[in-house]
Each structure stands twice: as structure tokens, then as C-alpha cells.
């Protein structure tokens, strides 16, 4: 089993992603955004960064990169698809996840560790985690404020599609523990099938104690476990 990590012009977390996945035993390979055939891969990660400069709107140009047709195919086929930060923005822009990410409530870039609470464990991102588990993971974004129309938010809640919510160290979710104004404190989201997921915090930045936290491991381990799992046809 092997996962692709897509490199758009302007991506910058791709090497960190390959490093972290490698540390956890996965075989990860960089793939340029003009690639049109990902059939040799069992899953695909869209890493953080500023694809195409984030010009126009985050993800707005990246969704038209040639590789995105293959990302869409893999999502439909039930293969694991994971978007982190800019990758999450691109998945939303491509319609593979609902909603959108807009500028943070305080209109400032935020780079600091935040706490997130695991809301459900039926996704490519949370399979190996425990419900209610609180993780300390760095956030690093300007457009990290999740938003969606009321009916879409209702669907997300009804379908239990929010996999991570911002919280405090004790797992309390409220407006004071919401760093960027995200609707319903949503930090991570999955699709109905659970094979496509996106999140704003960076789990690959929390895989070693020397960097301050290893809490991101369980999320990446979930992804890696899904790569190896039998995929329903």
C-alpha cells in the first residue's frame, strides 16, 4: 500500500507530510499537480500550504489542477482522501466536502497549538482514536474559519460528519475555546462514507515529543490503517 502526497505549486507542507507518514511506517510519495494517473496509489493526501498562491480564493485555482480529477475518482471509489489545512480548503472548494473556509474571526493568521476533541471514530481521520479524546495539535492558518449555510450545518450535525471540534484542554467546546470563529467549532469534517476527511490543524506537526506533542499520530495512524484496509468496491 502506498499513498500519494500531492504537490501544487505553492504547497509547503508536502515534505513534512511525507516525513511524518514515513515515521509512522507508511510508504508516501510526492506527486506533482499535473499528474493525471494515481491508480498506483491506495490513498491521497492534499497537504498544507498556499496552492497557486491561494490567489483568487483558497483552493479556487487548485481545484482545477489536473490531479484533482483523480482525487475525485478516488473519493468516489471509497479510497482514503485526506486534506490538511490548505488541502481541506481545496476539498471543500472541489465539492468533496461541504462548506468553506473563510478568514479567521480576528482577521489575523494563527499559528499555535490548539485542542481538538474527537467527535466520532468512523472516518479515515479518526478510526484509531477514541470518542471524546482531546488532542493538542498546531493550527496554522488565516482562512481556517469553517462556515456553511444553516441547512448544510444541520446536515453535518445530523450525519455526525464533524470529526473534530475545537475545545480546551478538558474537552469543553464553547465560543471561548473556538480559536477562529468556525461554525459549531468544527475543526475537521468527513463525508457520509467516511473515506474523505479534511481538518485545519496539522497532525503532521505533532508526531514527536521533541516538537511539543505527539497527539497528531493517532489521526495519521487512522489514515494509514485505512490505506491497508479492504476498500468496498
Amino acid at each position: 500500500m502506498k499513498t500519494a502526497v500531492v504537490v501544487f505549486p505553492g504547497s509547503n507542507c508536502e515534505n513534512d507530510m511525507v516525513y511524518a507518514l514515513g515515521l509512522l511506517g507508511a510508504d508516501a510519495e510526492l506527486v506533482w499537480h499535473r499528474e493525471t494517473d494515481l491508480t498506483e496509489f491506495d490513498g491521497v493526501v492534499l497537504p498544507g500550504g498556499f496552492a497557486h498562491g491561494d490567489y483568487l480564493r483558497t483552493g479556487a485555482i487548485a481545484r482545477f489542477s489536473p490531479v484533482m480529477a483523480e482525487v475525485g475518482r478516488m473519493a468516489t471509489e471509497g479510497k482514503p482522501v485526506l486534506g490538511i489545512c490548505n488541502g481541506f480548503q481545496i476539498l471543500c472548494e472541489a465539492g468533496l466536502l461541504p462548506g468553506a473556509l473563510v478568514a479567521n474571526r480576528d482577521l489575523r493568521f494563527i499559528c499555535r497549538p490548539v485542542h481538538v476533541r474527537v467527535e466520532q471514530t468512523n472516518s479515515v481521520l479518526t478510526r484509531a482514536a477514541t470518542p471524546g479524546q482531546v488532542l493538542a495539535i498546531p493550527l496554522n492558518s488565516y482562512e481556517g474559519n469553517f462556515t456553511a449555510p444553516p441547512d448544510v450545518l444541520a446536515d453535518i450535525d445530523a450525519g455526525n460528519a464533524a470529526v473534530l471540534r475545537y475545545c480546551d484542554a478538558d474537552g469543553v467546546v464553547d465560543e471561548t475555546t473556538n480559536p477562529n470563529g468556525s461554525a459549531h467549532s468544527i475543526a475537521g469534517l468527513t463525508n457520509a462514507a467516511g473515506n474523505v476527511a479534511g481538518l485545519m490543524p496539522h497532525p503532521e506537526r505533532a508526531v514527536e515529543d521533541i516538537l511539543g506533542s505527539s497527539d497528531g499520530r493517532v489521526l495519521l495512524e487512522s489514515y494509514i490503517a485505512t490505506l491497508a484496509a479492504e476498500v468496498p468496491a
Binding site: 516525513y19 498556499f50 491561494d54 499559528c111 488565516y142 516538537l211
Partner: protein, 721 residues
């Protein structure tokens, strides 16, 4: 009717300098030639007022691979690893247009790093403004920080720290310095020399436009006045996305061995890059401006040559490799065009539309630049200022003074600034901004690099020689408390108008003080930048040298000291000579007394290096907390430990002066009960026990930890919202 202002005056050249060009060329310069000389001979490019003195800095050590003079200094870290370091200023552009000024400062310094073959891995930003009580200064701070964040985050290079100061002389002349670090393997090192007749000059990256024309000569090399707003078109506009692609493309060019030499286009644009490449290789170059990809039509030769459009590089490649270079540029979606050919004979010949528009000796643009030995004179006011030392009260509520200092934006929590910067990318950041020095690992090795940037304008105003020396020691101690040893220095010398003798005197004193301290510590200066003319409406800034210290350790401490590792019943120690009287330029003098005077204590070149070595040793021996004592003295240093560790402290009763004096060569250690610092003959005293909910100064008052924490956290946010 008055005579029109001559062209050379408009371009910032003196009559004598213009005459020197005529003597050199043995004729009147053509317009494009005049444009080139005006920029290349500007203060910013030629260091004409400082060059004669910079040789004072010690620059040699066995581990120095590239010293001052190249795009960046380079040191050897062992096992074929090299580190490249460079510091620059973008002061005037940031005052005129804070976002773009700061952003392009980041972009420019990164190009200096990857020009050497290194991948830029971290940036630091020392910044200085006027008081935040003035809305314009708040606008400048917010703009500069978001410019650094906007560019640095998007280009994909983490910002690992910096420093911030506020003082009135910076109100109309903020200082925006930027330092960058790169890593490379030895065989990737590239220099900016064009060799090989017939080799081709390829211009890579952004199109050339009218932005930034005269940035170096008009903005960076002249004083400011009320008309300065009209200089806004001289500020360049940054495009981090273009730069990101350019970095990746250039690194791949080096990896594939496709470049003979390379030079970034910064100040003076194509003039500087072509002439430096040719001169460094002892060659000439034929350049055809018709092949330059332009942003707008009908630019004249002078404009194309002087344009400071960002995100451009000039690569020298062999004719056989040109196609592969162009193909690689196509892959990374950047422009590339062949604009010149390396020639023998040393002439730089520039043509446009089939006509020669410039023909000059390439080396003359740098080598024949004016060199001034400007007059230097000790300021007449200095003795009176030294005599005017702080009037200290007999008794003091130190708890109350501490809270007032923690509320100061330069002493309070700086996370409002550094949390806007990506400081974690590349997974190397072990100790984050907000500590003494930031500590990085080099993934895949046992090596660590610690970096600190330190300046103190008020200290250097009172005594530039002592101040310069103290900054070097402070920076060294800041990296030492993380476990690294001082390894190399770069400096950014921000000064006022060098045509004033007292400014020149401040400059010379600073260079001397810094040099002495570097010699005592055995640390080489591998590069630097001089920024003169930081003067607005006739008022000069404080003399503000900024030291960028690179520390190195191998191995990196397994569990380096951190401010948040103090725990109940641990014991607080101070290591270093006691001094109860050093209040000159102290935070107490500034925040509580609103005063500036007295003479700062001198450094001790015997004790200073020993204290630095002792701190590094203790870091490797597993001390939970080590912390440099600087602005705000022991009181603020202790409070920072308490706030980070969320625990109070009971200090042993003593003379209150000892908690607020800012004498050099001291650091705090928090050790488990029963352990004492192993520092040989150096003075070490137990000064308190960790625990409780307050920061208590014996009979001299106390502050509740809760209130101290909130006050400290709000110091910048409450002023910015």
C-alpha cells in the same frame, strides 16, 4: 526661471560622484549608465560611508566557509552540512508602505540565502516602532507584522522569532530588519561568479516592471521628510507565490548541477546582478534588454536596469544546458529568458533595440564606488547624559513595579506578533519564539542550531561601545541557555545620518565594542548590513545595532531547558556577577521613571565568555529552566518563568536594586531541590523557591501570579484592539 535639477542630483548622486563617473568613463555617461552608477554607488549598495571600518570585525574561524562580502555568510556544521546566514534592513520601504516593505524584506533575504545553494529554513524579524499610543505606530506595527506573515507564511519559510522595541525616535523611522538561515550540503554551495566565455545569462522569475525603481538610492540612502509619501512608487511589491516557485526551481537547478554561478536581483536589479556576476568572475557580459520579459511596454533602458521588481534571479549556465534550464523553469511555471552572454575583457555592454545604451567596466560599478572617511566626533551632550543617572527611591514596591513593566509592550507577551507567523514548518522547531533563543534541530542528524537577535537602541545611545559589546554577550547567552555555543554573528547596523560627525562616532564606537566582544567569545562575524540615513526631519534614530547570533550544538540536548519546566519546591539560582547599580537604559528607568540617562556598566571580557560556557554546560546537564537576565532584570526574568510554568515564587529577602538592575553576564537557573549549579568559580547564589500563587519579593512587595499573567498577556493586544 530656475535651472532644472540635474539628472544625477535627482538620482541621489553628488556633483563629485558625478565627476568621478566622467573621469572613469572619460566621457559624459549615457542616461542608462548614469542610472546604473547612481544605484550601484548609493550608500545602500556600496557601503561608501562604512566600508572603510567594517574590516575591524573579526571574521575568521576554522569553521567559516564564506565570510562577509558574498550574498550570505556560510559556516561548517560538520558531516558536510553547512549553514548560510544573512541579515538585512528594509526600514524606509516599511515606513512608506508597511505591508509591502516588510514583505519584500523577507523575499529579498530569502533570495540571498538560496542564491548560495541553501534551502531557506527560518527567518527572524527584529522590528522597532514609535510608541503604540500613536495610532500611526499601531498601523505600522500591524502592517509590518502582517507583511512578514503574509509573505513568509505563503512562501513556506517559518519565522522563528525576532524582537520588538518601542521608542519615540523610531516613530518616523521604524526599523524592520530581517535575518534568514539556510541549510545546505557542502557540494551544493554556489557562488555568484560568472565564468567561461560564451556562457549564457538566464533571467529567471518575475517580469520586470517599473516598481521599485530607485529603491536603493532614493529610499534606502537618503533621509526622510514630509514629502516621503511621494516615494511610495519606489517600494517594491512582493509575490510570495512566485518566490516559492523560484526557490524550488533554483534548488532543483543546483541539484542537477545546471548552474555555473547565480545572483539574485535585489537592490539595483539587473545592473547589480549582471555587473557583480561578471566582476566576481573577472569577466564581462553582453546584455540585450530586448530579451528581458517586461511587465509593461515602453520601459526605457535605465528603468529596466534599475527596476527592483521582486522574485528574479540571474543564472549563468553553459550553452549546452540552456535548454534543460528553460525546461525546468517551464515545469515550475516560472518565466525564463536568456538575456546575456559572458565575455572576456571585463566590459559590461548593454543594448536595446540594436543600440548600445551602456558600456562600462563591469567591476567599476562596485570596485570604483566612492569610499568616504567621514568625520567622527564624540557628542557634546554625552557627559551631561552620563551624569544624569536615574534617581532611585530608598524603598520600592517591587511587585507593583513588576506589574507596570509586564504591561509594557516590549516586555509583555509578544505572541500577538509571533503567532501570526508560521513558526513550525519543516518540523525542526524545538524551542519556539517567545523564549531567549529559538532552537532548531536538523532532521536526520544530532545537530542543533539556536538563534537569537538582539538590539537595544537606548543602551547604545548612552554608550555605543559598551552597548554594542553587551548585545553580543546577551545574544551569546540567549543561545547558550538552549545548549548551543556561539558560532557566528551577523549584524545589522542601523544608524542615523553618517554625514553628522556624532552619528559616525556612534557607528565607530559600536563597531569597536562589538568586535571586542566577538573576539573575547571567539565568534566570527560572517556578514552584515549597514543602514544609514535613518533620520526623519533631522532627527536621528538611536544608534541601533542588531546582533544576529547563530549558536550550534552537536548533539542537541535531549531535553533542553524550557521556561515552562519550573515546578513546586524547585530552587531558583542566579549565576554571574552581582551588580546593584546598573539602571542606565534599564526597563525600570524607562517604564517607571520615564527617564534615559547614566552610563551603562561595561562588559567583562574575562567573566562574560565563562558565563556563556557555563550556561551551555548546564543546558546539557539537564537543568529544567535556564533564562537570560536582560530587560527588566531579575524581576521580569523570574516573572516570565512563573507565567510559563504557572507557578509562583518566594524570593529570599534582599536589596530591591538587585531585582531590577540590568547588569550583563547573568542568567537564572531553576533546579530540583538539593542540586546546585556546577559552574566552577563563577558566582552563583540561591535566590528563591518556586511555589505558591504569587511572585513575592520579601518585604518589597509581591504580585499575584494570576494578575501578572493577565497583565503580561494583554500588553500588546489591549493596545492593538
Amino acid at each position: 526661471m530656475t535651472d532644472p535639477v540635474p539628472a544625477h542630483i535627482q538620482l541621489g548622486m553628488t556633483d563629485d560622484e558625478y565627476q568621478a563617473v566622467i573621469d572613469l568613463l572619460e566621457r559624459e555617461p549615457r542616461p542608462a549608465e548614469l542610472a546604473m552608477y547612481s544605484v550601484m554607488w548609493s550608500e545602500h549598495c556600496s557601503y561608501k560611508s562604512s566600508r572603510a571600518w567594517l574590516g575591524r570585525f573579526p571574521t575568521e574561524a576554522p569553521w567559516v566557509v564564506v565570510g562577509p562580502g558574498e550574498n550570505a555568510g556560510v559556516v561548517d556544521l560538520g558531516d558536510d552540512w553547512l549553514a548560510a546566514l544573512r541579515i538585512e534592513s528594509h526600514n524606509h520601504p516599511s515606513f512608506v508602505e508597511p505591508y509591502q516593505g516588510a514583505a519584500t524584506g523577507v523575499g529579498g533575504i530569502l533570495r540571498d540565502i538560496f542564491t548560495m545553494g541553501a534551502r531557506p529554513v527560518a527567518v527572524w524579524d527584529p522590528i522597532r516602532f514609535g510608541s503604540l499610543t500613536d495610532p500611526h505606530n499601531r498601523y505600522l506595527l500591524a502592517g509590518v507584522v502582517s507583511g512578514i506573515a503574509g509573505y513568509g507564511n505563503a512562501v513556506g519559510v517559518p519565522t522563528l522569532g525576532g524582537e520588538v522595541e518601542f521608542a519615540d525616535p523610531y516613530a518616523k523611522n521604524p526599523l524592520v530588519n530581517v535575518m534568514a538561515l539556510g541549510l545546505l550540503k557542502r557540494d551544493q554551495l554556489v557562488l555568484s561568479a560568472a565564468s567561461g566565455v560564451g556562457n549564457v545569462a538566464v533571467l529567471l522569475g518575475a517580469t520586470t516592471g517599473r516598481d521599485g525603481i530607485g529603491g536603493a538610492s532614493i529610499l534606502a540612502s537618503a533621509s526622510f521628510d514630509a514629502e516621503s509619501g511621494a516615494k511610495r512608487p519606489s517600494v517594491q511589491i512582493g509575490d510570495p507565490f512566485e518566490e516559492k516557485k523560484l526557490i524550488e526551481a533554483c534548488l532543483e537547478l543546483y541539484e542537477k548541477g545546471l548552474v555555473v554561478g547565480i545572483q539574485d536581483l535585489g537592490a539595483a536589479g539587473i545592473s547589480c546582478a549582471t555587473s557583480e556576476c561578471a566582476a566576481n568572475g573577472g569577466m564581462g557580459m553582453d546584455v540585450d534588454l530586448d530579451d528581458v520579459h517586461l511587465r509593461e511596454h515602453d520601459m526605457n533602458a535605465g528603468e529596466i536596469l534599475m527596476s527592483e521588481s521582486q522574485e528574479r534571479m540571474l543564472a549563468i549556465v553553459t550553452p549546452e544546458d540552456v535548454d534543460e534550464v528553460l525546461a525546468l523553469a517551464e515545469k515550475w511555471e516560472i518565466n525564463a529568458s536568456t538575456i546575456g552572454t559572458v565575455t572576456a575583457g571585463g566590459a559590461l555592454i548593454v543594448s536595446q533595440d540594436g543600440d548600445v545604451v551602456a558600456e562600462v567596466p563591469a567591476a567599476s560599478l562596485s570596485d570604483d564606488a566612492p569610499l568616504y572617511h567621514r568625520a567622527a566626533e564624540r557628542p557634546t551632550w554625552l557627559d551631561a547624559t552620563w551624569a544624569d543617572s536615574a534617581e532611585l527611591p530608598a524603598a520600592l514596591d517591587v511587585g507593583d513595579a513588576l506589574l507596570r513593566m509586564l504591561d509594557d509592550p516590549a516586555l509583555g507577551d509578544r505572541s500577538w506578533i509571533y503567532e501570526q507567523y508560521d513558526h513550525q514548518l519543516f518540523l525542526n522547531t524545538v524551542i519556539e519564539p517567545g523564549n531567549d533563543g529559538s532552537l532548531m534541530r536538523i532532521k536526520g542528524t544530532s545537530k542543533g542550531l539556536a538563534v537569537s537577535t538582539d538590539g537595544n537602541g537606548r543602551l547604545c545611545y548612552l554608550d555605543p561601545r559598551r552597548g554594542g559589546a553587551r548585545l553580543v554577550y546577551e545574544s551569546a547567552l540567549n543561545v547558550a541557555v538552549t545548549g548551543a555555543r556561539p558560532y557566528a554573528v551577523v549584524d545589522n547596523l542601523n544608524f542615523g545620518n553618517p554625514e553628522k560627525p556624532e552619528v559616525m562616532w556612534q557607528f565607530l564606537e559600536t563597531v569597536e565594542g562589538m568586535s571586542e566582544a566577538c573576539e573575547a567569545l571567539g565568534v566570527p562575524v560572517i556578514g552584515g548590513n549597514v543602514s544609514f540615513y535613518n533620520e526623519t526631519d533631522g532627527v536621528d534614530i538611536y544608534p541601533t545595532p542588531v546582533v544576529g547570533m547563530l549558536g550550534f550544538c552537536d548533539p542537541i540536548p535531549t531535553d533542553p531547558p524550557r521556561l515552562d519546566q519550573a515546578a513546586d519546591k524547585m530552587v531558583l539560582w542566579i549565576i554571574g556577577p552581582e551588580n546593584l547599580t546598573d539602571f542606565a537604559a534599564s526597563a525600570y528607568d524607562r517604564v517607571i521613571l520615564d527617564h534615559l540617562g547614566g552610563r551603562p556598566t561595561d562588559v567583562d571580557h574575562e567573566i562574560g565568555p565563562q558565563v556563556v560556557a557555563a550556561a551551555a554546560d548546564m543546558a546539557h546537564a539537564g537543568a529544567p529552566v535556564l533564562h537570560d537576565v536582560s530587560a527588566g532584570g531579575v524581576a521580569v526574568a523570574v516573572a516570565e518563568i512563573c507565567i510559563a510554568s504557572r507557578i509562583g515564587v518566594e524570593l529570599h529577602d534582599g536589596d530591591w536594586h538587585g531585582w531590577l538592575s540590568e547588569a550583563p553576564h547573568r542568567f537564572l537557573a531553576v533546579l530540583p531541590a538539593g542540586e546546585s549549579p556546577d559552574v566552577g568559580d563563577l558566582p552563583a547564589r540561591e535566590i528563591g523557591i518556586m511555589g505558591g500563587t504569587q511572585i513575592a519579593f520579601g518585604r518589597h512587595g509581591s504580585a499575584l501570579l494570576d494578575i501578572a499573567t493577565r497583565t503580561w498577556r494583554d500588553a500588546i493586544p489591549r493596545r492593538m484592539t
